[in-house]
């Protein structure tokens, strides 16, 4: 589904954000990506979503190279950022229709998906309002709906649970599980270790741009909690946090 090999990204000032990072994501897998602030989580995600270019390494989505076939890769993925800045001048419905048009979703399919997900996230009544009148949580919900509208094979989320109410969080978790049962994959970054531990099949821990641990959740946690593993890893590595 997703194959990252020796990804390295350096910012213009010379700071290395991601260093030699390799990672794979299989179909039907929920993959949690954790690390402290500034560890390189968002940069990694932005690299394989085609938002940021990178210095070296390769990223393949469903066998397609993100640098060579970006449009083909993007047709299969959906990305939701941690702080969704949407088109404030559009109404919720206009935005969803815009995204559906870009993915060339048929009117029947888009209307069915909009109706289902808007109801699930309790946003139906606000779809006629301009996005600038939305709260942070409502924008987050709209971004999630727009990401699901074309039924992506790979869903990528950056801190998806920040700003969501408990009902919406549960709805999102159920959608993730549903996608996995259909053979699709979910990759998300989070600071909520309990959620990652319960939800993810695999977990990767990143620190200062390098992958420290990556593997099945039960293999990583064994008889302890993910929180303990995370703290031990960060401290034992002589953390600079």
């Amino acid at each position: 589904m997703l194959e990252i090999k020796q990804l390295t990204k350096t910012y213009k000032g010379g700071k290395k954000a991601v260093s030699d990072l390799s990672l794979t994501l299989e179909p039907g897998e929920i993959h949690g990506f954790i690390g402290h602030n500034g560890a390189g989580k968002t940069t990694t995600i932005k690299c394989f979503c085609g938002i940021t270019d990178f210095d070296s390494g390769s990223i393949k989505i469903l066998g397609h190279d993100i640098t060579k076939e970006p449009v083909l890769c993007k047709q299969n993925i959906a990305y939701i950022p941690d702080n969704p800045d949407l088109y404030e001048h559009l109404t919720g419905m206009q935005y969803l229709n815009f995204v559906a048009d870009i993915y060339q979703v048929s009117p029947e399919k888009r209307n069915e998906n909009i109706s289902t997900f808007a109801k699930a996230f309790e946003l139906t009544d606000s779809l006629g309002d301009v996005i600038s009148s939305y709260s942070h949580g409502m924008k987050q919900k709209l971004a999630i709906i727009s990401a699901l509208i074309h039924e992506p094979t790979l869903l990528v989320l950056d801190e998806p649970f920040v700003g969501l109410d408990p009902v919406a969080s549960l709805t999102l978790k159920n959608i993730m599980k549903q996608m996995c049962s259909e053979g699709k994959s979910v990759f998300f970054s989070t600071h909520v270790l309990e959620v990652a531990e319960k939800l993810c099949h695999k977990i990767s821990i990143i620190k200062n741009g390098s992958l420290i641990i990556s593997g099945k959740t039960e293999d990583i946690t064994k008889n302890t909690s993910l929180e303990d593993v995370f703290m031990e890893t960060i401290i034992s590595e002589g953390s600079s946090i």
Binding site: K12, D53, P70, Y79, H89, D101
Partner: protein, 526 residues
């Protein structure tokens, strides 16, 4: 209070001048951007100050030197007024840091004062640059006026205050009035244009005077300036006639107006902010029953963005409207009447030859594509993650611009082409050159925007009015039109051919830019 206001001012000023970007970011792109921004400002302000100095010289030549300081005051005040009215609302009430500032333990007056101080300092700099060369020239031409010149230097600091107060108050009032209507953006654009047209009409009525008439009517011209801006009387008496009491009264009134405005505004700032930032909510929406093509969806998004901002519409469409107004005036008034009105013999011949250049230069001045990419702002991640190519995105921005510019251009061309007596080739050039130049300016605007893109803005004024691509576009527009004008003046018999060749060259440049821009990956734009 003063300290807090000064702190707010410092933050705004450092962002405006990109001080921290230059000091702490080792980003060559940002440095280049700052360089071009400064270059554009110097170029445009240089042109303004050159024009002012020329006007001051003309007044001296016509023995109307007594009008110099009144003229400088009106010019600087108009400048401050027009620039403030564009940005005051967004800066005072709708900036992204609005709520953050209100949460700080400082008085509302200090927040307002900090923001007004930012507007004031920048307008003062512009006032200084634009009018000082003219004032120095006046001193050189009239050496006995040293005291007047020194008085002028003192009064200079107070000139922007009253225009700022009026512009900020009027800007807020326009927004409050229009906020009650459904199509508020459109209404705001119409009211603003009506207001500007009134100013333009006023200045045009005084520009029709020839040398003899000006001398004859020098007294009425002075009274016209003074009636248009009553403070000019105080200013003129204070500086020209060296009446200290008038000068002090001018300075005092300016200071009092800004103080009173700050105090009054602080009383209603919170409620006014709520009115201005209020968003209309509607529960009505319809499910779509059609699937648009990708390009159509992207163009639709661009046009919705365009029509959501009155500032964006006004900044880009002023050229089209002015050209259209000029084109309409030709058949309505008739060339002969225009000749008499403007007192220009042979105007009809000039218009026939210059029509393509006039439309081309006015309509190519401010393409929306020069700001369209930056205006994606923090939402740029959306197009970056959507399955679209850079070519599709760039085409949508160019097409959105052309869908607005081309109808205006063709209409102006058609009116002039069929209301003036022209040869078939001249008629063709009246359509071809403006059209090609509109396309060219669209491509150049987009290319400049790609080169100097800025997604990290707090306020759309920064992009629509003050950004590097917008300012450079003005410079570029002069550079692409000037050679054609020079050649046409020197070889009038070949004017049409020159215009058609220029059109062909402009299309060639478009083809080169099209190829160059489309090679760019969306992930490399930042």
């Amino acid at each position: 209070m003063i300290q807090n206001a000064f702190s707010i001012f410092k933050v705004y000023q450092s962002k405006f001048l990109m001080i921290n970007q230059l000091r702490f970011k080792k980003d060559q792109q940002k440095r280049k951007q700052a360089f071009f921004l400064i270059f554009s400002y110097i170029f445009l302000l240089g042109m303004f100050s050159f024009y002012t100095a020329g006007y001051v010289y003309a007044l001296h030549y016509l023995q109307l030197s007594t009008l110099t300081f009144s003229y400088l005051l009106v010019l600087a005040s108009s400048f401050c007024f027009l620039f403030t009215i564009y940005q005051s609302n967004s800066l005072l009430f709708l900036s992204r840091d609005h709520e953050q500032l209100l949460a700080f333990p400082c008085t509302i007056s200090s927040i307002i004062l900090g923001k007004l101080l930012f507007i004031y300092v920048n307008q003062l700099i512009f006032t200084l640059v634009i009018t000082l060369p003219g004032a120095i020239l006046y001193l050189i031409l009239t050496p006995s006026s040293l005291v007047s010149f020194l008085y002028y230097l003192i009064a200079l600091a107070f000139i922007p205050l009253i225009p700022i107060v009026f512009a900020a108050a009027l800007g807020a009032l326009l927004t409050i009035v229009t906020s009650r209507f459904k199509h508020k953006t459109l209404l705001k654009v119409i009211l603003s244009f009506a207001f500007m047209a009134a100013i333009f009409a006023g200045s045009f009525s005084s520009a029709n005077l020839n040398e003899a008439k000006i001398i004859e009517l020098s007294v009425s011209l002075e009274s016209k300036i003074h009636s248009a801006y009553p403070l000019a009387t105080l200013f003129s008496n204070g500086i020209q006639n060296k009446q200290v009491s008038s000068l002090l009264l001018f300075c005092g009134l300016s200071l009092a107006s800004i103080t009173l405005f700050t105090l009054l505004l602080s009383k209603i700032y919170l409620s006014l902010g709520s009115v201005l930032s209020a968003k209309e909510t509607s529960r009505k929406y319809q499910y779509s029953n059609q699937k648009k093509s990708i390009l159509k969806a992207l163009v639709g998004k661009e046009l919705r963005r365009y029509f959501s901002s009155s500032l964006y519409i006004m900044n880009t469409s002023v050229g089209y409207l002015m050209t259209l107004a000029f084109a309409i005036s030709v058949p309505i008034l008739g060339v002969e009447k225009l000749e008499k009105l403007m007192e220009m013999q042979g105007l009809s011949k000039v218009i026939v030859l210059a029509a393509p250049i006039i439309i081309a230069s006015m309509n190519a001045m401010m393409p929306s594509s020069a700001a369209a990419l930056s205006l994606e702002g923090k939402s740029f991640w959306i197009v970056q993650t959507l399955p679209i190519s850079s070519k599709q995105l760039f085409h949508s921005k160019i097409l959105a611009h052309l869908s607005i510019a081309v109808p205006f251009t063709l209409l102006s061309s058609a009116i002039l082409a069929f209301s003036l007596e022209m040869l078939p080739l001249q008629r063709l050039a009246t359509f071809i050159m403006p059209l090609c130049y509109v396309i060219l300016s669209s491509y150049i605007g987009l290319t400049l925007n790609i080169k100097f893109v800025n997604f990290k803005w707090e306020n759309e004024v920064e992009i629509i009015k003050q950004s590097t691509p917008i300012l450079l576009m003005l410079v570029v527009c002069i550079l692409i039109v000037a050679p054609v004008i020079i050649l046409c003046i020197n070889f009038p018999a070949m004017a049409t051919l020159i215009q058609l060749i220029a059109s062909f060259i402009s299309l060639m440049i478009c083809a080169i830019l099209e190829q160059k821009n489309n090679q760019l990956s969306l992930s490399k734009i930042a």
